[in-house]
């Protein structure tokens, strides 16, 4: 199944692109992502815990960025092995275009599973993939736009069955009041451009820094 969708993000295209290339931002947006790190120019390694129907598994996988057109588009391709649970593969083609008030992010995503996940969860996989994509891009939007949007994300995150214990994901975001009242909160654009400046492993997204 192919999923398509778009998000209007209130940020400059360069800032959105930077966030799309920030491992910490990506990690915080992938539901259940416990860690993610660069291992090459366009390659990341990730560990994600997810539950599809009755199967809960820790996936160790590789994520790569393909067909990269700077500040315009790329494909985010991931493959995770969940041991006895089988494997999951997914991809999302992401495109950015300037729009009034920010950047329009549009995507086409797909997901495939094998092994026990397919045995027990194939009926659920389309719905699961849609939920994952929605959640990813919702989180991404709020990550880029900053804490003003954390409100929505927190709600979405609370509905998600699989929390991401070790991440900086939305559910652990400080309450909206606290977040908005926090004067030190950096501007998203700043954080994103910082991240885009160095592609090293040390870089830390603003969400990561916020929570130490």
């Amino acid at each position: 199944m192919e999923l398509t969708g778009e998000r209007m993000i209130a940020a400059e295209r360069a800032a959105v692109w930077a966030a799309l290339n920030d491992a910490d931002v990506l990690a915080s947006c992938i539901p259940g992502c416990e860690q993610m790190a660069w291992v090459g120019d366009n390659a990341l390694e990730a560990q994600v815990t997810q539950k599809v129907g009755p199967v809960k598994a820790k996936f160790k996988g590789a994520v790569s960025l393909q067909d990269v057109v700077v500040e315009e588009s790329y494909r985010l391709v991931g493959e995770g092995k969940g041991g006895a649970a089988g494997f999951a593969k997914g991809g999302a083609a992401v495109k950015l275009t300037d729009a009034e008030g920010g950047t329009l992010l549009s995507y086409t995503a797909e997901a495939k599973v094998g092994g026990k996940l397919a045995q027990l969860g194939s009926r659920l996989i389309d719905g699961f993939a849609r939920k994952m994509a929605d959640e990813f891009f919702d989180r991404f939007k709020s990550a880029v736009e900053g804490p003003q949007a954390a409100d929505d994300t927190a709600e979405n995150g609370a509905e998600a069955p699989a929390d991401a214990p070790a991440t900086v994901a939305a559910p652990q975001t400080p309450s909206p009041e606290t977040a908005t009242a926090e004067p030190e909160t950096p501007e998203p654009a700043t954080a994103a451009s910082e991240a885009s400046d160095d592609g090293g492993e040390q870089k830390k997204g603003w969400f990561g820094r916020l929570l130490g």
Binding site: G53, P54, G83, A84, G86, F87, K112, V113, G114, G115, K116, A118, Q119, L120, S122, R123
Partner: protein, 801 residues
Amino acid sequence: MAKDLDGKTQGIGASSKRREDARFLMGRGKYTDDINVVGQTHCHFLRSDIAHGRIVTLDVEAARAAPGVVGVFTAADLEGVGGVPCGWQVTDRHGAPMKEPKHPILAEGKVRHVGDPVVAIIAETPEQARDAAELIALDIEELPAVIDMATAAQGPAVHDEAPDNLCFDWLFVAENAEAVDRAIAEAAHVTKLELVNNRVVANPMEPRAAIGEYDLSRDEYTLTTTSQNPHVIRLLMGAFVLSIPEHKLRVVAPDVGGGFGSKIYHYAEEAFVTWASARVGRPVKWTASRSEAFLSDAQGRDHVTTIELALDAENNFTAIRCHTLANLGAYLSTFAPCVPTWLHGTLLAGNYKTPLITTNVKAVFTNTVPVDAYRGAGRPEATYQLERVIDKAARERGVDPAALRRQNFIQPDQFPYQTPVAVQYDTGDYDATLTKALDLADAAGFAARRAESAARGKLRGFGIASYIEACGIAPSSLVGALGARAGLYEAATVRVNPTGSVSVFTGSHSHGQGHETTFAQVVAEMLGLDEGAVDIVHGDTARVPFGMGTYGSRSLAVGGSAIVKSVDKIVAKAKKIAAHLMEASEADIVFDNGQFTVAGTDRAVAWGDVCLAAYVPHKYPIESLEPGLEETSFYDPANFTYPAGAYVAEVEVDPETGVIQVLGFTAADDFGSVVNPMIVEGQVHGGLAQGLGQALMETATYNADGQLQAASYMDYAMPRAGDLPMFTVDHSCVTPCTHNPLGVKGCGEAGAIGSPPALVNAVIDALHGGGYPVAHIDMPLTPQAVWQAIQAVRPAAAAAE
């Protein structure tokens, strides 16, 4: 309720209660997984979760070092171990033998279906074995999966030996092909039907399990396994896989919780645990999870067929021509090649005197679980296409489907009847069972019932199907000529103990059929004993003579006949002993109801006295007769047996939702003579549930990547009690088998053979009756499939109004 014949309470014809049920119902059965051996280790198989691919990386070092791990094995460790052999060779229409690629115990460089075992991990506990499997680095370079048979030839080769994924292209009867083509070209009418016989999963209640043990002091192996035929496993595994001579290999199949065919075959896992027990020096146990059963037990059916039936102007059948694509899955399972060929093509005459028949079967390798015999095996596929096309022909010709069948039935005075497809039916009366089924199903009252349903907005349908099957498998010389790599006789030892009780050692294997009861009834009847004095022993190569096991409804017809032969020998010897005891001539001894008498006198000795004399031969004709009372016989049948019958389904379809309710199902079977009517009824009930399950809901669906999507009971629909009506089962129409001593034909598979076409015919009848001219719906007839079929013809139906 099953009626006892002649009001008997025991012996042949009595509905004796199944003695094995006492332990089964109390949870006291002893299945393979219930057995724990001192020092045993546990095996876990890491299986491919990719349907087709090359193994790029396989690193098991971390797993070897994991806690509790005793050994980790890959194909590289199995040097010198053979592949899983195939027990039947089919010859291609062009004269070449079938393609027979190796089926390795563990994947060698390539994986070919989801579930293909790649690594075996042996550890102290099952949990440690599973945990260690997580540490294995296995990378598989994925190749496109070959799933759809129609396009398999264009796909990548599953096996290099079969570049177009064709195992064989079989034409039968080749000599008739031209005459068939001509008859079809010249026919007054030809009815054509394309249909799918859906793939099903066998789903025995007990998953497969195996324990391998090696006794160093005796250099002897024991395999305890969930098998329908322990001697066949010993033969195949010992000779072809592990090179263990048979006197050093014992195979035990204890209580087995259902098989339905899937436990006939020799599987890689049981060979592995046997081999590994010597390697690790400890017993090795493996029990399949239900998920593994879905991915590794041989599956059933999966044929795509086009059938054409030619009729003359008077509606006599003149020719049948079939083309079938048969899915073999990724590897050749033990009897896979014979299912779509000799168990299928030879039954295409059905109950009818069609003079000319040909069938072409292309057997295809795909990246799916191997397919082999499943309850009925080939015969359900033949029956389904035949009974569906006849029903369609009746509709096209505007004749009553029962009348069209009757007109073309082989008549009682035509037996023995030589069909144009190699087999010779010994006896039968197809009109009798059809008449019986129609009476029991109240065919006469159907119109009123249909009107009543219509008043409620429901569509009522009435469907019939006749069937015939070749059972009592099989004359060894015949199957040998057809490609079997084994004989198909059966063996039995009858051991009379000194005090007169009897132990019977049979090569048949009971995994739900009730042999312990039925066989005891036969022996008790013949010897005039209480059934309780007869014990049936089976399932252990160390105890029973070389037997071929249980499948193809052969146990009573072949295994029972071997027992009868042995009992006959016992009686003949006992008469000699009795004659000596009574100082009479052997010719004057009459044995009846447990007493030996001298004809015309009141002199008699009892069974027990003769048995004691045989083992305490103080007064005994020792010069001419050996002591003891024990006989072994092998029985090789002269022909197949041919159970036949007629089934009627009555259904109600909701045209708004497509939901089918099975309101009634009637089975009138001619099984020849019946030993235990209650057990026969139970066997038919089970077969009907499986056949109706296939027709209504069961289907093993693979996606394009080769992932089995219906691979748990959340997605694979099994019939439940509420889905089925109370069955009406009759076996009062009896034409005894002419060539075995009990006159029996076999009853295990009939229900699964005759019920799918009856059900589908009933649904099609319901739709036509409601003004929806649907020609065919492929099984399973889910509400969605029925509803879509209705939608597809709705405009036509509306226009007709």
